[in-house]
Symmetry: C2
Subunit: 179 residues, 2 copies
């Protein structure tokens, strides 16, 4: 298949519209899974990891998801999270804040992963990046950066996905605690 660069402009108004459509298509799978058998917490973890994995596979999605307004995928994710927050018994006034915190965290991590993927030159693996960063951290001034130096070792075999989930669990624990 081969066309001129102008051909797509018959079908979409601009690149952004194209990305919105492509993002919705990719996330349709994630959103297709039904949550009926799960606890609210597990349902939230499932959507969160689904979005995380989708961005991992297609980093350009990460940059795209921030536009709540135009992006129907984001609306659907927010709706799903919101319902689970309701199911957790969070009182009315706090539901919006709780669902937003979860959505912001999910999209925020996604956006950063996307930025990292963009910044990474081709041929570098995640392990390379972590190794380099870990080396950098352990060379920091111990007086200025005691905390970061202390965790530099943990960075080398670090699991991004597990840490993402740990953050979700912290927010869920916070929701449970404040209820």
């Amino acid at each position: 298949m081969k066309t001129g660069p102008g051909a797509i402009y018959w079908h979409v108004a601009n690149k952004s519209e194209l990305l919105v459509a492509a993002t919705d298509a990719v996330l349709a799978d994630v959103l297709a899974a039904d949550a009926s058998g799960e606890t609210p917490q597990d349902a939230i973890r499932t959507v969160a990891l689904g979005v995380f994995d989708a961005i991992d596979a297609h980093p350009w999605i990460g940059a795209q998801l921030s536009r709540l307004a135009s992006q129907s995928a984001t609306l659907q994710i927010f709706e799903r999270i919101g319902r689970q927050v309701q199911a957790l018994g969070v009182p009315g006034a706090a539901q919006f804040d709780s669902a937003s915190a979860l959505l912001n965290y999910i999209l925020g991590v996604g956006g950063q992963n996307a930025a990292n993927a963009r910044a990474q030159e081709p041929g570098t693996s995640r392990a390379d990046v972590l190794g380099a960063e870990s080396a950098l951290w352990s060379r920091l001034d111990p007086d200025q950066y005691p905390f970061i130096r202390g965790i530099a070792g943990q960075l080398r075999d670090h699991d991004d996905r597990a840490q993402f989930l740990a953050g979700i669990d912290l927010i869920l624990a916070g929701i449970a605690a404040l209820r």
Copy 2:
């Protein structure tokens, strides 16, 4: 003052390096405030809001902060949060996850605010955007989007900064609960 476009390239290697330097300069103020009189929770809230406000004033910072590796401002923010997490008595293994969750949330919201600011055409106020979004939300299909329709009204006089802080408080509550 007037120069040719090539003049800056004597001083910096590329645009990214320029943005890193500018970001560090802007955040120097935020990081200058000392946290000695505050509780760990308040110290975390102070840094978080400082970063939030800095991005609000200079949206381009938001897009910049994701690069943990090269950005010394991000390292300093992470260090400061990490120390407060230690001060909260979080056990060693969980310190990295807790500090990361806070940092990811702060940078994530910042990045999204930056994207929103970029997407917004000049002359539109935040109130305009919220009004439009609120109108859109209240026109959604009640069967598909019951949760979002339910909160559409709350969106019109919505305080981004307060909601950001509510998210920080949820994570702090989660940290306290899991300890």
